[in-house]
């Protein structure tokens, strides 16, 4: 029995917008799930339905063996972290953090101990007597995390909590969130559009688009075996290289080719000759002595590595490289054949 189960969950807003179009998801106790997708994909609406802030149009939500589909948020025992903090402006930091404990009959000494513990963990002890408007964005989000984590709810729900923070705070709080979640083994659902954040946090990633789930899987499954073209392109920065062409039968086996060229890439997959889209991650492309000829048209240097955009007869390819290539340089490329992914050009689904 999964800890949290969404069955055919749907939400249509009164203006007719179909934000979520039938979601099925099973989450185990203690799992860290990230809902990943572009804005407007329905991930936040899904999260808000789990919290009880939106009433589902159809479908069912089961949490800890209880049907909570239409229960108000106060009867669900969730800890919610908002993107824009939503700290109570008329209360001090201390009062904000105490707020979730005050109406469940926690004794003042226990409240003080709980605030002390969570404030120390988030290093906000010195801010307790200040008001939210006196704090920086990063500190406000710390307080917001403290408010959600001062209890031990059934489930943490986080709506892009790090989206508005600068890079330094983002990395620090990201690590904190994961440590806290692991140490308490509290189930967490985390919404983001940042695929790097998703990869680093998640036990499993749920990729969403257009109100539907595109793929559910571990970060490595999502990255290495994208279920369709959307996932291939959305996950990874830059996304997968995608080349349109066809698979043809040759003497030495199947190979991928582009209509106007005589370049052939051997295919080892169990597939039939057809029109396909070939996908290849930038890190599996290497410069070689012979192979696909190309010309460097753009070179991005990022410190530990870089990306080079190469114009080739079969299309533009992005290659990860540790050397700095100069624009205009002529090179040959080798594609690592074991990492070739094939997609159906009509449906976009993976063939491998």
């Amino acid at each position: 029995m999964p800890f949290l189960e969404l069955q055919n969950l749907q939400k249509t807003y009164p203006d007719g917008t179909r934000a979520v179009r039938g979601i099925d998801l099973q989450v185990d106790q203690g799992e860290f799930i990230v809902l990943l997708g572009p804005s407007g994909c329905g991930k936040t609406t899904t999260l808000r339905m789990i919290a009880g802030l939106e009433d589902p149009t159809d479908g069912q939500i089961t949490l800890d063996n209880q049907n909570v589909t239409h229960l108000p948020p106060s009867q669900r025992d969730v800890g919610f972290v908002f993107q824009f903090y939503a700290l109570y402006p008329h209360m001090t930091v201390q009062k904000n953090i105490a707020f979730p404990l005050e109406n469940i009959g926690t004794s003042p000494t226990d409240i003080e101990a709980a605030i002390d513990r969570v404030a120390r963990a988030l290093s906000i002890e010195t801010l307790l007597n200040q008001y939210p408007r006196q704090l920086s964005g990063g500190d406000q989000q710390r307080v917001s995390l403290a408010r959600a984590m001062v209890r031990t709810p059934d489930i943490y729900l986080m709506d892009e909590p790090l989206g508005t923070l600068d890079a330094e705070h983002r990395l620090e709080l990201r690590a904190f969130i994961r440590r806290q979640q692991l140490s308490l083994s509290i189930t967490a659902i985390y919404v983001t559009h940042d695929q790097e954040e998703a990869m680093s946090l998640a036990d499993r990633i749920v990729v969403m688009d257009g109100g539907k789930i595109r793929q559910i899987g571990s970060p490595s499954e999502i990255y290495n075996h994208p279920a369709d073209l959307f996932v291939a392109n959305f996950v990874g920065s830059p996304g997968m290289n995608l080349l349109t062409g066809q698979i043809v039968q040759r003497e030495d086996g199947l190979s991928f080719t582009h209509r106007d060229t005589d370049i052939h890439i051997p295919i080892h997959a169990n597939t039939a000759p057809a029109r396909v889209i070939l996908g290849m991650r930038p890190e599996f492309i290497r410069p070689a002595n012979r192979g696909i000829p190309g010309k460097v048209i753009l070179s991005e240097y990022l410190g530990s590595h870089g990306y080079a955009h190469i114009d080739t007869p079969i299309g533009e390819l992005i290659m990860r490289s540790t050397d700095r290539l100069t624009i205009g340089e002529k090179i040959h490329l080798h594609l690592n054949e074991t990492h070739i992914r094939l997609f159906d050009p009509d449906t976009g689904t993976s063939l491998t």
Partner: protein, 287 residues
């Protein structure tokens, strides 16, 4: 720019306070000095001053007389002031409480035809209030409401409610929903969230609304006159009634009474002025 500002403020200040100064001077005069054809401007403590001079003998008689019923009147001034206070405060309280509740509903819940309802609420102010004096009087007679405090409280509440709803809706609309949602997921019921989150943030709006409602109820004359002749007579009606007095119009007493009458409303406004001026203090949610 700095001097230009004073150029506007000083003349306006004089214009605004001149009638009050005149009231104050008149309240210190005797009836004879008050109706003297020449203006005496300087109060002195001298016993006898020449009539028609610039100075006059100041006396607090007018204030003392307010404590005793005036000739032909059943009660002293303070009785009518008390009526005004009771009616003004209770109708203001009712308008603000009902208006806030109503505005919260319109602001936060989906109500069928909400826009039409809001227009209807506003439209109750389209008609000049005095146009409905006769029907209101007839209705009130059926319920024995004329001549009661309750009658005026109900009436002023009814008239001020539309203003209260519209003002409060504007203020509550400005409060981000995320605050309530945070309270809901923190384990509070919607009613608790309203009480703990919305109300503290509405304080500014409630203060503004209360000032407007109180001023309108405090100064209302037409209905107070039409609906009352004995019990719930308010200060404006009382003063107007003094004008037919057989001993002439008692200007010093009216002046003294009016000064006392403006004190509550001025002090109320001063009390809530921080709220009036503070404006929007909740800016911690970036939208």
């Amino acid at each position: 720019m700095k001097y230009l500002r004073w150029l506007v403020i000083i003349p306006y200040f004089c214009l605004a306070t001149l009638p009050l100064c005149w009231l104050f001077l008149t309240s210190l005069k005797t009836q004879e000095a008050a109706i003297s054809p020449t203006a005496s401007l300087i109060p002195t403590t001298a016993e006898n001053t020449a009539p028609g001079g610039l100075s006059f003998s100041a006396t607090l008689d007018a204030y003392r007389k307010l404590a005793t019923p005036h000739t032909g009147k059943a009660h002293a001034f303070f009785h009518y002031l008390f009526n005004s206070v009771i009616i003004g405060l209770l109708s203001t309280l009712a308008s603000v409480v009902l208006g806030t509740g109503c505005a919260y509903g319109f602001s936060r819940f989906r109500i069928a035809g909400a826009r039409d309802w809001l227009f209807f609420i506003l439209s109750t102010r389209f008609l000049p209030p005095l146009a409905v004096v006769v029907p209101v009087l007839m209705m009130y007679r059926a319920f024995d409401l004329p001549n009661t405090h309750l009658g005026l409280i109900l009436l002023y509440t009814a008239f001020n409610l539309s203003l209260a709803v519209w003002l409060m809706k504007g203020f509550i609309d400005e409060i981000p929903r995320a605050y309530e949602e945070a309270a809901l997921v923190d384990g509070y019921s919607p009613l608790q969230a309203f009480y703990k989150i919305i109300l503290p943030h509405s304080a500014t709006g409630m203060a503004v609304t209360a000032v407007f409602c109180l001023i309108s109820a405090w100064n209302e004359y037409g209905f107070a006159l039409a609906l009352n002749n004995a019990e719930a007579v308010t200060v404006p009606v009382y003063f107007a009634g003094l004008q037919g007095n057989i001993q002439g119009i008692p200007w010093p007493q009216i002046a003294a009474g009016v000064l006392i009458f403006v004190v509550p409303i001025v002090s109320f406004t001063v009390l809530v002025r921080n709220h009036l001026l503070r404006g929007v203090t909740f800016g911690t949610i970036k939208q």
